[in-house]
Amino acid sequence: MRPTSWREHAYHALLWLVALIFFAPIFWIVLSSFKTADQILAVPPKLIFTPTIANYTKLFSSASFPHQLFNSVVLSVAAVLIAVAVSFLAAFSFSRFKPPGTNFLMFLLLSIRMLPGSAAILPVYLMYVGFGWKDTYAGMILFYAMFSIPFSVWILKGFIDGVSPRFDETGIVNGASWLRIITRTILPQVMPGVIAASIFNFIFVWNEFLFNYIIGGISTSNIPVALASGLYSNGGVDWTFISALTSVYIVPPILVVYFFQRYLLVGMTFGTVRGEV
């Protein structure tokens, strides 16, 4: 290894500067969450102040916050588990048996995911109102699972295509059942795909607002809906509430990005692009 030159130091400083510029607005949110309401609206903005955790104690002691956080966790985790499980089976079928209409179905699955949210939710809203599924956990979880299926199938099919059919054949010759082959032979080899599909869909459902707002209700609303609807108190925007809530809420996605960084690319391109970054 060659010694670090001053040019390299300057280069590294520049890279860190870029990263910090993109992070600055989020840093500002977190900083604001430790301020009082007056300090948030101070002119000129305060960089140095005595931090307070009053916003957080207020947030955690509020009546609706724990319930909404619980909803966010339940909806995202349950929907992703269901979606990845059924997508894995379907992806295996698509990859190995290529049933008639595979390409067409893969295309249809994707195009639904490409539709603007308000268009996708409109008929589902009418259906949910008609069937009485609005504001139920089952209704919400299954809808989010459906919305997570297309990308999961795409990601997992790509990974299963990469596992040689020789593995299946060996299993069959040795008398293993298909269930055993799928769970014991294929699944461990496509774990990166399973992780990529899970984290991508988790982040999507975690941050989702519109669907929850329209087909959810008081008992199933998640934090983004609380952020959008709990804005105004006493005629003004409650910035202490928003900054504390956002600061808490962004922690899981940021941890995911940190710990699963190499799966981010696969997840965000639903398996069509692989590689190290």
Binding site: F23, P25, W28, S111, L126, I172, W178, L210, P224
Partner: protein, 324 residues
């Protein structure tokens, strides 16, 4: 799959098994080659039919009806009335062109900036704390769009906002970013650029990682100029990944809605009203379901066109890779 493979598989399954109860027969039925593929697909197909096919058919049908949830009247068949009404509605056309303008400026800015920053991060493997730096760089992508939209309102605020403090500090008068119809569009665009440029950085890094090292070393020896290296080597190998990235960003920008919902709600006037927001207001404020369904069908056709383009590029890449 090789043609020889299924024969061996059937042989082994048809061979007598030690115990043959009714349960055994059932599992063998499930494992048959003409049953198993559809059995595995069944859960996804059920999801697809209940949550996609039926709603989409409902949508297609409803587009031909006059149906408002507020009037209390049952839907009335109206033929192409809704579609004709949309075609003659200049407001929809303006919103649609505004959306395409937004997509165009957002994607161009994010691509150029993302590529520049991606190239900058190319040799960053010795960067101390690289993983933390990249996490910080990618963090805008995973921030809840509603929260981003809300908090940028505070940053953009003419009196209390940190941005206007800086502008006043430089001796200019403050700008009402989101209240002034002339700058609101650019202000919203700016937030989208902040959120999604990191995605194009990610794609650029992936494209750069796909460039063979040997060719770069050859270019080094041949003393190619940097723009030649970029064009002949980097773009040659990375163009498909970049194209897929640009297409994904195009599709996603076309869907922009959550960000605007809290930041401007389409305002002031309709300065930042993108078509997803138009549909939202007509469907869930005015509850004009027939008309909204027709518009949703039009958006569905646009999305299908986008998806088809994406798949086309994907197949093109596969063919190219098969050739080389």
């Amino acid at each position: 799959m090789e043609p020889g493979a299924p024969a061996t598989i059937n042989q082994s399954r048809d061979a007598p098994v030690a115990s043959t109860g009714p349960w055994e027969g059932f599992t063998r039925f499930l494992g048959r080659r003409d049953v198993l593929p559809f059995l595995l697909l069944a859960p996804v197909l059920i999801f697809f039919i209940v949550w996609n096919l039926i709603p989409t058919l409902w949508l297609l049908g409803l587009g031909f009806y006059r149906f408002s949830l507020t009037s209390g009247r049952p839907p009335r068949f109206a033929g192409l009335y809704n579609y004709r009404s949309i075609l003659n509605d200049s407001g929809v056309w303006i919103d649609l062109s505004r959306t395409f303008l937004f997509v165009f400026f957002a994607v161009v800015t994010e691509t150029l900036l993302g590529m520049a920053l991606g190239l900058l991060f190319w040799n960053s493997h010795r960067l101390p704390g690289r993983r933390i730096a990249l996490t910080m760089l990618f963090s805008p992508m995973v921030l809840t769009p509603v929260a981003a939209g809300t908090f940028w309102r505070l940053i953009y605020d003419p009196t209390f906002g940190v941005l206007n403090s800086a502008i006043r500090g430089l001796g200019f008068s403050s700008v009402d970013f989101l209240g002034d119809g002339r700058v609101a569009f650019a202000a919203v665009l700016g937030v989208d650029v902040w959120m999604w440029t990191p995605f194009m950085v990610l794609m650029t890094l992936a494209a750069l990682a796909s460039v063979p090292k040997a060719e770069l070393e050859a270019a080094e020896i041949d003393r190619l100029a940097w723009h030649q290296r970029l064009r002949l080597i980097v773009l040659h190998h990375g163009k498909f990944i970049l194209m897929l990235g640009i297409l994904l960003r195009t599709i996603d920008a076309f869907k922009t809605m959550d960000l605007i919902y809290d930041m401007t709600y389409g305002g002031p006037g309709s300065a930042t009203q993108l078509v997803a927001m138009t549909l939202y207001r007509r469907a869930f404020e005015a509850f004009n379901m027939g008309w909204s369904s027709a518009l949703a069908v039009i958006l569905l056709l646009i999305s299908i066109a986008f998806t088809a383009t994406f798949i086309f590029v994907l197949h093109w890449r596969e063919r190219r890779e098969a050739e080389s």
